[in-house]
């Protein structure tokens, strides 16, 4: 009979009821308020970090075989980078940078790789006498810190040149040559060929965690809403009326769309105030931390492309999981029985989430790459890869194509399993029965 029933308008009628049923509930309102509050607190985290950061000092190692040159570099860099802002009270202000002389370059490299220092300056002199300074850190050449150090390098070059001027009039004056300054950025992340600076990388990592956690929550919680909704209709026996009024395909689609829309509404209710906090973060930071506090706190790197990617992976990820959750819900007679049956699916989602967290840490191993193409992990892992590393557009397209194809297959199987399960009463739910039905579907 399903073949004769078009999807609309019944799927829409069911979706509307599901949507209203969800959003009218007090639990929905309470959870939306709590989650929005939490999300705004998370969005304020960089301000808090910056506040904490103000209490700490960034360390930069200076490595040179020439002791005079090293001392000169420390002096100039200290005067350039540790300049007190004119509107900050001198009694409370403390230097944000400390420059340490380190004799062993390897020791400095080790400290840099472990994060004990922010960067290192390798200071040397070429055969012609020109000062050469290499700044190694996670900062991009365009970062404000690198540019201040370039300015300091110029000052070092001037001082060095003047120190080498002959004290008697016997010799000629060597022509002034500016110090050569180079920034070597470690762990380079790019997007569309553009190198991301350290702040952007950190920001992306932070946003990545937020997005992946949100995706995980929405997939599992909203998916369980779908399963619970189906199981409730069975336990209240209203399902028998429903299946005589609408086809399983209409019911399944309506339920997934309606609950998905309720989830999306909640997501927007959480995301909009959070994004407003992000947008006005510099002002909030300025108010809380004073005029200099806004520096370096804003969340950058939240490009429209990433927001679109999140929307696409949210939509596809939720649809995939919701279809499976719905068919699972049809196999239990009471909502209480869902916990057992849905556990394997929740574990799959958790595996995807954990892989995504590993990917956010910068891991680019083969299995992370593979997982970003394989549903049901791909929504989490590809999103994470997009946030923190360079991903070719073709890879994203292939990942989405595989996900869409999987959803199409799962939709057919889930629809048949749902049809088989909705009138199944009085039998003990079990994963084996579910798999048996899946094979038959």
């Amino acid at each position: 009979m399903a073949g004769r029933d078009p999807l609309l308008p019944n799927a829409l009628v069911v979706a509307r009821r599901e949507y209203r049923d969800r959003v009218k509930g007090p639990l929905y309102l309470a959870s939306t308020i709590v989650l929005a509050g939490l999300a705004m607190l998370v969005a304020m985290a960089p301000v808090a970090v910056r506040y904490m950061d103000r209490q700490t000092v960034s360390r930069i190692a200076v490595v040179s075989s020439d002791a005079d040159l090293a001392n000169r570099t420390v002096g100039v860099a200290d005067s350039v980078l540790n300049t007190r802002p004119p509107d900050v009270d001198a009694s409370t202000w403390q230097k944000p940078y400390r420059f340490d002389l380190v004799a062993d370059r390897q020791e400095a490299e080790d400290d840099l790789s472990t994060g004990r220092i922010t960067g290192m300056l390798l200071v040397d002199r070429a055969a012609a006498g020109q000062v050469q300074i290499v700044y190694r850190s996670n900062d991009s050449p365009g970062s404000s810190r690198a540019q201040l150090l370039a300015l300091a390098a110029f000052g070092v070059g001037v001082l060095d040149w003047s120190s080498r001027l002959p004290t008697t009039g016997s010799g000629g004056v060597a022509p002034f040559t500016p110090a050569a300054f180079e920034t070597q950025q470690l762990n380079v992340a790019t997007e569309a060929g553009r190198t991301l600076d350290a702040q952007e990388v950190a920001s992306r990592g932070f946003l990545g965690i937020v997005f992946v956690v949100l995706l995980f929550i929405t997939v599992v919680i909203y998916g369980m809403w779908v399963a619970t909704g189906v199981a409730s209709e069975k336990s209240s026996r209203v399902m028998e009326l429903m299946v005589s009024a609408a086809s399983p395909r209409q019911l399944l689609t309506g339920k997934v769309v309606g609950i998905g829309a309720a989830g999306l509404t909640q997501y927007l209710a959480i995301a909009i105030p959070t994004l407003l906090v992000v947008a006005f973060q510099d002002r909030i930071s300025s108010v809380l931390l004073g005029p200099g506090g806004m520096e370096g706190t804003a969340i950058v790197g939240l490009s429209p492309g990433l927001l679109l990617a999140y929307a696409v992976f949210f939509l596809l990820g939720f649809t995939l999981f919701a279809l499976i959750y719905a068919s699972m819900g049809s196999f239990v007679s009471r909502p209480d029985d869902l916990q057992t049956l849905s556990l394997p699916l929740s574990l799959l989602a958790t595996a995807g989430y954990l892989t995504a967290v590993i990917a956010l840490g910068g891991a680019q191993s083969t299995w992370v790459t593979v997982a970003s193409f394989v549903p049901p992990f791909s929504p989490f892992v590809m999103l994470a890869r997009l946030m923190v590393s360079a991903v070719a557009p073709a890879e994203v397209v292939v990942s989405i194509a595989i996900l869409v194809a999987t959803i199409a297959v799962v939709a057919v199987v889930a629809s048949r399993m749902y049809a088989a399960g909705v009138l199944l009463y009085g039998q003990r739910p079990g994963f084996r029965a579910f798999l048996t039905a899946a094979r038959r579907a």
Binding site: M1, R4, S236, A246, P248, A420, L423
Partner: protein, 321 residues
């Protein structure tokens, strides 16, 4: 053209739920679909609705197979009552009618009219969980008819109703019949079926054991009984031993004597009088539907059959079509 159940067979795994079941229901009549629990009544209704597919045979309405018919052809009142517990009564009535293609405004007007008729207009805005079982049942009946189905299939519609509501529901049945609707219902309350139906089908273990107009079934059985009242309201033991009498039992109307086929009621009356009894009432009556049911099925209507596929269809059932 009628509702034709044309040699329908349905198996659940190795269990045969319907075994070549065949009977017709004339349009515009109230039809009783009788059988013990697990006889195959609900399975037949689900096949009518397209919820299940038959393994063999076909069900047709007006010459068209069920899978060619729109869903709104049917109205269905399932045996297991169910409504959305937290949803307002009127809202869910409109919701169900909308699924059947009714415009919401018209559905709302009709629903209010039916709620008023069933004396529960004040419950329109209440949640279903706040209603008594009987009132929930009336709401479900309204849900089944709001879209104006041509055929109304009802599984045990009278269960749980008090006498007043029973009368209300019966009146609604007759009104729908007068509007040209075809009503098919199953019930274990055989007196209700006898009072309302022109025809019945009695099935047992998925097979038709008797079917047709009730009057014809009674005549064909050849059975009659005598309703008797004796002075002093006594029931002497010798009544059951009279020639031509198969058995005697008390009934609300007095004493009921089962007459053997071919026996003459006048001879029995003469034999009673010859024993010196005072007869205050004597009537020859046809067998009740319950007696016919027991005769054909061999047990009362509310006794379980060995098979109960309607309550627990297995995975092999294939579920909703």
């Amino acid at each position: 053209m009628s509702l034709e159940i044309d040699h329908v067979t349905k198996r659940f795994g190795t269990t045969v739920a319907l075994d070549g079941l065949a009977f017709d229901v004339a349009p515009g009549e109230v039809f009783g679909f009788l059988g013990a629990n697990g006889a195959g009544k609900t399975t037949t209704m689900r096949i009518c609705l397209g919820i299940l597919r038959p393994d063999a045979g076909e069900i047709r309405w007006q010459g068209r197979s069920t899978h060619e018919l729109p869903r709104r052809t049917w109205g269905y009142l399932p045996e297991e009552r169910g409504l959305y517990p937290k949803m307002a009564v009127l809202d869910q009535l409109v919701y169900f009618a909308t699924l059947y293609g009714e415009p919401p405004d018209r559905a709302r007007r009709e629903a209010v009219a039916w709620l008023t008729r069933f004396r529960i207009p004040d419950y329109a805005g209440r949640r279903a969980e706040e209603l008594s079982k009987g009132n929930q049942q009336k709401v479900q009946f309204i849900a089944a008819i709001l879209h104006g189905p041509e055929v109304l299939l009802m599984d045990e519609p009278f269960t749980g109703l008090d006498p007043v509501n029973l009368i209300l529901l019966r009146e609604a049945f007759l009104e729908l019949r007068d509007r040209g609707r075809t009503l098919v219902f199953s019930t274990h309350q055989l007196e209700s079926a006898e009072a309302m139906c022109e025809s019945v089908a009695i099935i047992d273990r998925g097979r038709l054991v008797a079917g047709g107009a009730i009057r014809e079934l009674k005549r064909a059985s050849g059975r009659r009984s005598i309703r008797l009242a004796l002075g002093g309201d006594a029931m002497p033991a010798w009544l059951g031993e009279l020639p031509g009498v198969e058995g005697a039992r008390r009934s609300p109307a007095g004493i009921e004597l089962e007459v053997l086929p071919g026996s003459d009621p006048a001879s029995i009356l003469a034999a009673v009088l010859a024993r010196g009894a005072t007869v205050s009432n004597f009537a020859v009556v046809e067998p009740s539907l319950e007696a016919l049911f027991i005769e054909h099925v061999g047990r009362p209507a509310d006794e379980d059959a060995s098979l109960a596929p309607d309550r627990a269809p297995s995975l092999q059932a294939g579920g909703v079509a």
